[in-house]
């Protein structure tokens, strides 16, 4: 089922939480709303759910105008960051809550609950109480509870936010597989770019109540619309025209900034033409990835990431002199740096 958000704005007092949001979610897709806290991503989700009313604009679910529809009649499934399970009810009764309300027959309820317990791989946990489950299990029960009433769309508000790193990763992979099976139109909110990239078909990058860019994970990473998106979806070195890395391009002007991702800095032991000299200042081992801090001639510091093979081939040591060559950079003009740039004026230049 499709979700259409058109020209939606919302204010809390003087705070513009949503500023003229337009968004089209195609049937069967899994969309991530990605942004820092206060960017409006949760407000947008809650507005679609009917937990907030927009000041302006319209929301349609499957072509039906739901802007002023009671939350009970929207037919949405909602999953909360802190699970919001009913503490006084067993797992089974939690899952059947929506079905009990709809007065389904006991037999139909039992069958549906069994199906869902199997889906969330918690057969045998039906008679436990939420307090007897781990965080990951609780969130799966919350998901089953939302799915029980066969909603038209599934909305998840930071669903993995309260879980520790390992469970988080397992659960997000599981959610992706689940989505591939049931193809329910879903929107989930996250501030974690890796999570958004790993799970979503499309990412909606939000900032200060606006949508900065909509695209596939690859699109927003490789073709960020503006400096905000570029820095939010991945690590980046931002350099001004005085940096040696910028000067070598002959494009240097005081109004531009050069953006280069740490893994796009290639490192050489011997200098070639145009290479920029740097000194290894710090080495951080992260298992499969090695992060370097490199001091340039003007004492500014850039970060470079290499894999283990590259690192051991180069035999780098602290204090060593190396030479840099960016594989790919992006330029953004100064006037875009207020993070509200239009998406048309960026340029991509292979160096």
């Amino acid at each position: 089922m499709s979700i259409t958000v058109s020209q939606v704005s919302k204010k809390f007092g003087n705070f513009q939480a949503l500023d003229n949001i337009n968004l089209d979610v195609k049937p069967g897709t899994l969309v991530a709303l990605l942004g820092p806290s206060g960017s409006g991503k949760s407000t947008l989700l809650r507005t679609v759910a009917g937990l907030e009313t927009p000041d302006q604009g319209k929301i349609k679910i499957n072509g039906r105008d739901t802007t002023n529809l009671d939350i009970r009649k929207r037919n949405i499934g909602f999953v909360f960051q802190h699970y919001a399970l009913f503490k006084h009810l067993t797992v089974r009764r939690n899952i059947s809550f929506g079905l009990d309300i709809r007065k389904k027959s006991p037999q139909a309820i039992k069958q549906r609950v069994n199906e869902l317990l199997e889906l969330i791989q918690l057969q045998g946990f039906g008679d436990r109480y939420p307090s007897q489950l781990s965080g990951g299990q609780r969130q799966r029960v919350a998901l089953a509870r939302a799915l029980a009433v066969q909603p038209e769309v599934l909305l998840l508000d930071e669903p993995f936010g309260a879980l520790d790193a390992k469970v988080r990763q397992e659960l997000r992979d599981w959610l992706r597989r689940l989505h591939d099976e049931v193809h329910l139109t879903s929107i989930f909110v996250t501030h974690d770019r890796e999570e958004a990239m790993a799970v979503a078909d499309k990412i909606v990058v939000m900032n200060q109540g606006r949508i900065e860019q909509i695209g596939t994970p690859a699109e927003v990473y490789d073709n960020p619309a503006n400096p905000f998106v570029m820095s939010f979806v991945g690590e980046v070195n931002i350099l001004d025209h005085t940096s040696p890395l910028f000067k070598r391009t002959n494009r240097a002007n005081s109004a531009s900034r050069l953006f280069v991702r740490p893994h796009d800095l290639e490192i050489f032991e011997t200098p070639q033409k145009h290479h920029v000299a740097a000194k290894v200042q710090r080495i951080v081992h992260l298992g499969w990835e090695i992060q370097l801090e490199l001091a340039l001639g003007d004492r500014s510091v850039v970060s470079a990431h290499l894999n283990r093979e590259e690192f051991s081939r180069l035999e780098l040591e602290l204090g060593q002199q190396v030479y840099l060559e960016p594989r790919q950079v992006k330029y953004f003009e100064q006037d875009q740096l207020n993070y509200h740039a239009s998406s048309t004026s960026n340029q991509q230049i292979a160096v």
Partner: protein, 267 residues
């Protein structure tokens, strides 16, 4: 850190002596005085018209006051615990007012308001409705002094559980009543029960405000606590201690009832 045995023994003794002087000794003394001459003497001393009337009146007043203040307390708790608005703390203080105002003052206010020359007294007298020195005034006085208990017990529980479960219930299709009955009520049940028990205990035992508004007419408008006081004043020590023992027993039974309920339904 290890606790020093000596210090803990001293502290424990002080606490024990304090509790004994305040609670254990008086309770034992009441039951001793009521029963030490035998069960027949106890029974004969309380088996009188005035005692039964006082018991009946106390039960009637309690049966009216407790449900009213339970419903009021739930509403007040919901307004205060689920909404943010200007004057929220002021409202909370107003609900606490019966804790801080002497019951005698409250009784006096009722007398002045509903008396023959009071703002409402004249009007109601014209309609031939009797408030003072009758059940309505006793209910009013009792309701006033027991008003805060339910709200006070439920508000912190409501705040602690938060709104998320209720919101979740609504996304699953529950209407307001279903949200309250299926989600809110089970979550607040212990706080609510405790509030009701406190309300009940206070309603049974209220003396000051009721003494002022009821006229304390034995056999007519005297409640159990007033009967105890009157009997004692009239040198009927056996009747006084006998009925006091009954009051204490009802209080103890309420607490036992609460314990049973808690152990039965707790998981």
């Amino acid at each position: 850190m290890l606790t020093k045995p000596k210090a803990s023994v001293i502290l424990l003794s002080i606490a024990l002596i304090y509790v004994s002087v305040l609670i254990f000794l008086p309770s034992i003394f009441i039951f001793y005085e009521a029963f030490h001459k035998g069960i027949d003497v106890f029974w004969n001393s309380i088996n009188q018209r005035n005692f039964w009337q006082a018991t009946k009146l106390t039960l009637i007043v309690t049966a009216i006051t407790v449900p009213i203040n339970t419903i009021f307390g739930l509403c007040a708790a919901w307004v205060i615990g689920r909404n943010q608005f200007r004057g929220r703390t002021l409202l909370l203080s107003i609900i606490d007012l019966p804790f801080s105002v002497s019951p005698v003052v409250a009784g006096l206010a009722i007398v002045l308001l509903y008396g023959r020359n009071g703002w409402l007294g004249g009007l109601l007298a014209g309609l031939n409705i009797k408030i003072l020195f009758a059940i309505p005034a006793i209910v009013l006085a009792t309701a006033f002094v027991t008003m805060p208990f339910v709200a006070r017990e439920v508000i912190p529980v409501l705040e602690e559980i938060g709104e998320e479960q209720e919101t979740a219930a609504r996304t699953l299709g529950a209407n307001d009543w279903q949200v309250f009955y299926r989600v809110t009520l089970p979550n607040i049940r212990w706080g609510l029960l405790y509030g009701v028990i406190l309300t009940n205990a206070r309603a049974l035992g209220e003396f000051g405000a009721v003494a002022v508004v009821s006229g304390s007419i034995l056999g007519k408008t005297a409640t159990l606590p007033i009967f105890v006081e009157q009997a004692y004043k009239n040198y009927q020590a056996e009747a006084a201690f006998g009925s006091a023992a009954i009051l204490a027993l009802i209080g103890a039974l309420t607490l036992i009832f609460k314990e049973i309920l808690e152990t039965r339904t707790h998981h």
